[in-house]
């Protein structure tokens, strides 16, 4: 919450950023987020007991502005934080706000009621959107990072086989394979061998484990085995194509004032799965929070929005990302708290599956 202790009494890295100036920046961000109006020096000293006069604050504000942390919409208007200002706020001036225990319980109860993976994801999206009152984005657990629980081959007809792959995250991928006819016995044999080889292994390890499988079969069965193996590889590799689910779009309407004529581009970006995946995918760590502010998202249409994401997964090992998108002017501590709490709980729920 307060700044890092080692800076408590001295100047910070940038000598221009002394304690009070940071305090002023924090106050500006907080007030602006709360009121959504440019904040002036007088209002600032009134609402926060800074112990100095407006005139002093004005000097600090001028300095902050020169350094690019805040910005004046027009002469003789209050100040508004810039992306750089928010960045500093998030990095050094705020702490993730933990949820109340009542909220945590509610999350747990709500997520605990899920019946399958789809349901977990759907509930998570709704939950995030509801808590943060913003747009929620949840990525399906990545196929490649999870591992195989079971493979099943079902002959619909001798030449039409259904291939089902189940992962430990509860995801089920299925595909029909047209092949040369194959008898039940070799098919059962193949099923057994496949499972023995890959159950419990990472999807990314599957290709190397099954590439010479076909040699173990009688010559006449090899064509069928080959097509089935190929289909499995396709499911594993090509289906890496990941999906995201989003919800709470209606919350965008609450921010119409934030982006007067930019709601269109935002909706467009949200419809582009590729854009969403890229935004989520760029995030690094397992359960580390990532915050991308305004232009940092890398998309023009999202330049007045920020993205708070976190990895989630079983056993502390991130399998996918989830997060929230809102206006740059948002309650970062609260949002970060909600995102990280939800990510943690989803991970737990997945562990129990």
């Amino acid at each position: 919450m307060r700044e890092d202790p080692r800076h408590a009494d001295s100047r910070l890295d940038d000598p221009r950023l002394d304690r009070r100036r940071l305090e002023v920046l924090r106050a500006i961000v907080q007030d602006y987020v709360a009121t959504q109006e440019p904040v002036g020096s007088k209002a600032l000293v009134e609402r926060h007991n800074l112990g100095v006069s407006p005139a002093t604050i004005r000097n600090d504000m001028a300095a902050l502005e020169e350094d690019g942390y805040i910005h004046q919409p027009h002469t003789s208007a209050g100040r508004v934080p810039t992306d750089k200002g928010y960045r500093l706020f998030v990095d050094r001036l705020s702490a993730v706000k933990p949820l109340s225990s009542a909220e945590r319980n509610a999350i747990h109860a709500f997520l605990g009621g899920a019946v399958d993976l789809d349901d977990v994801i759907a509930r998570t999206v709704r939950l995030l959107a509801q808590i943060t009152r913003q747009v929620a984005v949840v990525q399906y657990p990545s196929l490649t990072r999870s591992s195989v629980r079971h493979v099943e081959l079902v002959a619909i007809t001798p030449s039409r086989i259904m291939l089902v792959l189940i992962t430990d995250t509860g995801r089920v991928e299925q595909r029909f394979v047209e092949t040369v006819p194959i008898a039940d016995a070799p098919l059962a044999d193949l099923r057994a061998r496949l499972n023995a080889l890959i159950v419990g292994h990472r999807l990314s390890d599957v290709p190397s484990r099954i590439d010479d499988l076909s040699e173990q079969f009688a010559r006449e069965d090899r064509p069928a085995v080959d097509s089935l193996v190929a289909a499995l590889l396709e499911v594993v590799v090509e289906q890496r194509e990941e999906r995201v689910m989003l919800g709470g779009t209606a919350n965008l309407a609450r921010f119409r004032q934030d982006f007067p004529d930019t709601i269109g581009p935002v909706l467009e970006a949200l419809e582009e799965q590729m854009v969403l995946l890229k935004l989520l995918g760029e995030a690094t760590g397992p359960s580390t929070l990532t915050v991308r502010i305004g232009h940092e998202t890398g998309y023009e249409g999202l330049s007045s929005t920020s993205l708070v994401t976190s990895g989630y997964g079983r056993d502390g090992d991130a399998v996918a990302q989830l997060g929230v998108l809102g206006p740059t002017r948002m309650d970062y501590p609260g949002t970060m708290g909600a995102v990280s709490a939800v990510a943690r709980y989803v991970g737990r729920v997945l562990d129990q599956t």
Copy 2:
């Protein structure tokens, strides 16, 4: 396009609605849809050669207004069609506008490239949204109206069985069942009997066909059989919970002028799957077009939008609905043409699966 021939020369049901008045209404709807501005008598005679003077038109407009087909935002402004006016326009004054053959080919090519059911739905949504430049809604083929292609039981462990149900629309439902342990032999037996009983039958017929199945098994296997049968019934019945996919939400932004402060409610309605399903579900016929205008949707939040839907399915038998949502002020003939064409092609694509 012209009105129904039997009315060609005479008054219509309502004696007040003579030919020219209908012509005037059509002109108003067309102009308003095109310009999005209240249309006045002078502009009307200029743009359409009605062969009479503005003053005459004004009389007709006054009559149309008195009957509730058009409405005046304020004294001395032009007229705007009411929901009732659009209704009359759709019912009697317009014809579905067929797509150009180039468009049809494009549709066919695009939908033909789909690899599985999810892909068909996803492509359909994108296509509809793109052609109509509005919000597209596509319902997944209904479970209850389709029939069983295959049931599979896979023992992950002796007490944990995966149940997979495949329908002829390509939909795959899967569920894990925890049960008392059951050996492989009776499980295989159950699988065979189940398939013999229900493959090829409507999902809605499944319950009556398997309700006494458990009696055919040895006493010690009955508990397991019972839980598996129960799970299957759940999948069939409870999963009647249907899904919809939507796309083109960003197109709403193009209509910000249409609903100045109602974009929020619209987004909210779109997020409520229940609302969407109800709207789609109400629709009747197999491949008949249904148009719901403004308040006819039955939702306050959608009172400035209209919905054009059509059933689609294989063999002319509707399995689900798809449609488009846009502002009440929309190009009805064009939208109706697009929706019905897409519905027809999707049906064909499903037939080929």
